[in-house]
Every structure is written in C-alpha cells, then in structure tokens.
Symmetry: C2
Subunit: 287 residues, 2 copies
C-alpha cells in the first residue's frame, strides 16, 4: 500500500467534490484519472488540468491499474458501483469515499467487498451549495475538517494512508470517529442546519421580502439552495439520528417561544448569553 | 429643513451603528458631533476622525445647535432620552433613528414629541454581530437595505431628507414601509433568524463538536453571538409578530419532520426544490 507521486489515483464521479480532489491532487503532482457520467465533465477536467485521463466508460484496465480509488458518488450509486464492478479491482487496491453518511454505507460496502480490497471511509467536511465540476475548488478544504471513520475491518496502514490523503488535500484538521459518532455529529452540524435553511426559506412566501433582507437571513439560507436528490438520500440514510436532532431543536425552540410569550426577558437573555459564549468555540481558525 | 455639508448632525449613541453613521458622514465631509455614554468611545471617535466633537454630557448648546439628530440607542433608552431632553431641541430640528422595531417606538415618540420637532423613523438593515464603536464600519451599508417608516404625521420633506441620508450613507436600496409592515417583515427576516441561531447553538452541547464543523453550521450560528440586552428588548417590543413567525416556522419544520419520519423522499425533494428556487431571489447584489 503506497501513496506517493507515482501512485495511480482514480476518481469515480467528477462533480464538485470529486473535481476538487482531482484538482488538489493534480496540482500537487499526483497522477489522477477519472471515470464519470458526462463527456462534458471529462472534457472540463482535462481542459482545466484536473486529470491526466478521463472517460465515461468503466474501462477495465483503468480500474485494474488504479492503486487508490476515490468514490465521489451519491451514496446509493457508490454501493451500486461496488456491486457491479468490484471484480475489476486489482488485489490490494485501496478505496475511499467522500460520502456524507457513514453507518448505512460503510458496513454494507465492507460486507460485500472482496477480501483482497480495502475500503477506508472518509468525509471531507467542506461542500459548496452548487453542484457540478465547474464549481470544484480545492481552496474550500483549507481550514476545514476531514474525518476518517474506520471500522475493525480496517488496517492501521489504510487509516494512516487515508489521513495522509486528507493532509495532501489541504485539510486543517484530520480526525477519526466511528461511523456512528460521525452520523450523530453530522445529523446535528450539517443535516439539521440544511433542514432549518429549507424550512426558513419555505415558511414565509410573502412577496418582496428580498427587498428588505439583511445578511442574517442570507447567511441562514445560503444552504437552502440544495441538491435535492443528494440531500434527501443523505437524510433518509441517517433518518433516526436526524429525527433525534430535529426533536432536540424543536424542544429548545419551543422553550424559547414560551419565554417570549411570557415576556420573560431574563430567561431569554440567559439563553442568548449561553449561545454567545458557546459560539466562540466554533470560530473558524485562520486559513 | 436642509441637508448639505454645512448641516449640523448630532449622533446620540456612538456604538457600532452610530459609529458607522458618524464615520460614513464625516468621510463625506459632513459636520458630525456626538453624545455618548463612555469617555473612551468619544476618544475613539475623535482619534479615528469619525466626529468633529463629542461629549458624554447632554450639553444644551450642542443639542440646540443640531439640525439633524440621529438616535442610535436601544429602543427604551431612545424613548427615555426624548422624554427627558426634548426641551433642548431648537424648533425645526429633524430627528431620526436606527431602531430595529418600529410600531412600538414610532407612535409613542411621535405622540410625546413637541409639535415643532419632526421625527422620521428609519431602519438601516445592516448590523454586525459585535457591538461597540470599535467595530463601526460603514462598508456594511454598501449593498444593504435602508427602510424609512413614515406615518401620517410626517412631512414629505422629512421623508425625502431621510432617504437622502440613507443614500449618503451608501445604502443600495432605499424603501418605504409602514411601521406595521416593517415589524412583520423584521420579525421574519431578522428576529426569527436570531431565535433560530440561538436555539441551534443551545440545543446540543456535546463536547468537541467544533472539531468537526463545516461552514453550514458556522453560517447558521454566526448571529448566535448576540447582544442579549438589545435583542431581548427588540423581541419583547415586537412580541406578537415574532410569535406568529415562530409558529409558522414550527409548522413548516414539523411538516418536513413528518416527511422524513414517513420516508417520503418525494415530498422532501419538493420542499428542497422550492427552497432552492426561492433562495435565488435573495442573492446579494454585487457591491
């Protein structure tokens, strides 16, 4: 298992994240090729020096030559690809992914995967509200978090290599969580925030509000522009954890509503002081 | 009623917004002085060329000389100031404000105000999550909205002057709303978003979440750092409108929760597509 400038890296799915991986790695001198659905995306990747080779066909030799394969597909497409094409991998291939939910993906893929191929799961915590390779931009990785979610089927060597990949991509903080810890965390930090943004955008459709908006509303709804296919899939694959976080949110929101209804300024201020103090923890480190 | 480079402008309250007004107007060559609570803030204003004169005392001559007085105080302090010191104004003085709620302020102040002084209310829709004159920065006005909320007690001349002030400050869009329309809009666009941010920050206090956060959570909680005294006052002064918006939000959120619980991906995707389409309306115009 090696990871150096001669390692053959294959990216499956050249979208906004796959493209950002390709661009970051090619810029660092790695040998990156891709398989993706659209010819236009292959062309874009080649024209913008993101890949050295690309194709829309699952070419057996390309897959067999790959030493590291990064899956940047929707979760179900990833599982489907493994089922259909895993016979093409060479023994000893390392595969990793960028999937936003883990428990419902990692165990299934590890269960069906050939024993001579290792899958080490990772989640780069840096997205864009736009999809498509034309929005690929590895600068979003700087200052961001990269999480590896190994299971007891993973080797220490693969975990180490996966972390090294995160470092090469430019992530600031590389951590390790179990798939379950990851999913609970992601339900709160990422999925709940997307539900809130969508809800806020939909709960009042009065005309002309855009004429009066300030930055708060813009910030809270930036992610209300959402890839509906991908996010509904992610929500459904992490349903229990997300429902649990939604319920915690409703409970806290309802408590605050009660303070306002009772004109209990003291309790509202306590909540605000608590949120102000806690928010400081989340300030972004300088890039 | 005049507004030119010789007009004497007095700002009451040199905080983040009062300071931004002072800086913007002084930079444009206007004659700006201030009355504020802390000596350190007066000193800061003078040292940074935001004001030509400042004091912590309500100096009768300074108030009498002022032709335009801008109140950048908390709502209740503004009302209290008028009650205590309005005898100091010269006849014909125009006063305006930056208060974030309107119905509960405008009518009361107009009712108690001397008939020879006119109060035209305005709300500059550009804030910072930090308070204090050291964070004053008029560049936040660029691309932002400025709303004038006249009543039938206001003259066309005052409305026009107040809009001209908004233009001089650098706002992109100057609009007019009734105090009631303003408060309904602000309950949704600004107050509800602050309640959501505070709630999100408080509803899960698991350790170490900051290690894994992405930008979505940071964006949704930027305003969870909140001036508790000012915002609890604003919430209480706009209670009914805010409760109404909170209820709309809970209803929509609960509907989405139902779709997830029932694994109704189709309905979730419809909601996401609606939010994606509607969010485009709110993109910030280029500065």
């Amino acid at each position: 298992m090696k990871f150096d400038k001669y390692t053959k890296i294959l990216i499956i799915g050249l979208g906004v994240i796959g493209g950002s991986y390709a661009k970051a790695l090619t810029e660092k001198g790695y040998n990156v090729s891709c398989i993706t659905k659209e010819t236009a995306d292959v062309r874009f990747g080649l024209e913008n020096n993101m890949i050295s080779y690309g194709t829309t066909e699952v070419e057996p030799q390309l897959v067999a030559d790959a030493e590291i394969v990064v899956f940047a597909l929707y979760p179900k497409d990833f599982i489907g690809w493994i089922k259909k094409y895993q016979h093409l991998f060479s023994p000893g291939t390392l595969i990793t992914d960028v999937t936003g939910v883990k428990s419902s993906v990692v165990y299934e893929v590890q269960d069906i995967l050939r024993p001579d191929v290792e899958y080490i799961a990772a989640h780069p915590m840096a997205g864009r509200e736009r999809s498509g390779v034309e929005f690929a931009d590895p600068s979003v990785f700087r200052g961001a978090n990269y999480i590896v979610t190994p299971t007891d089927k993973n080797s220490l060597e693969a975990i180490k290599l996966c972390k090294a990949l995160g470092e090469e991509l430019g992530f600031l903080r590389i951590s390790e969580l179990t798939p379950e810890e990851h999913d609970e965390m992601i339900a709160f930090l990422s999925q709940l925030t997307h539900v809130i943004a969508v809800t806020l955008m939909n709960c009042n459709d009065s005309d002309g509000l855009e004429k009066y908006t300030g930055d708060s509303f813009r910030d809270l709804t930036r992610i209300a522009k959402i890839n509906d296919r991908m996010w509904s899939e992610l929500f459904l694959m992490n349903k229990d954890a997300l429902l649990c976080e939604m319920d915690r949110f409703i409970e806290e929101f309802t408590e605050f509503r009660g303070y306002l209804a009772n004109e209990d300024g003291k309790r509202m201020r306590e909540k605000m002081r608590a949120s102000t103090a806690r928010r400081s923890l989340f300030d972004k480190p300088a890039k």
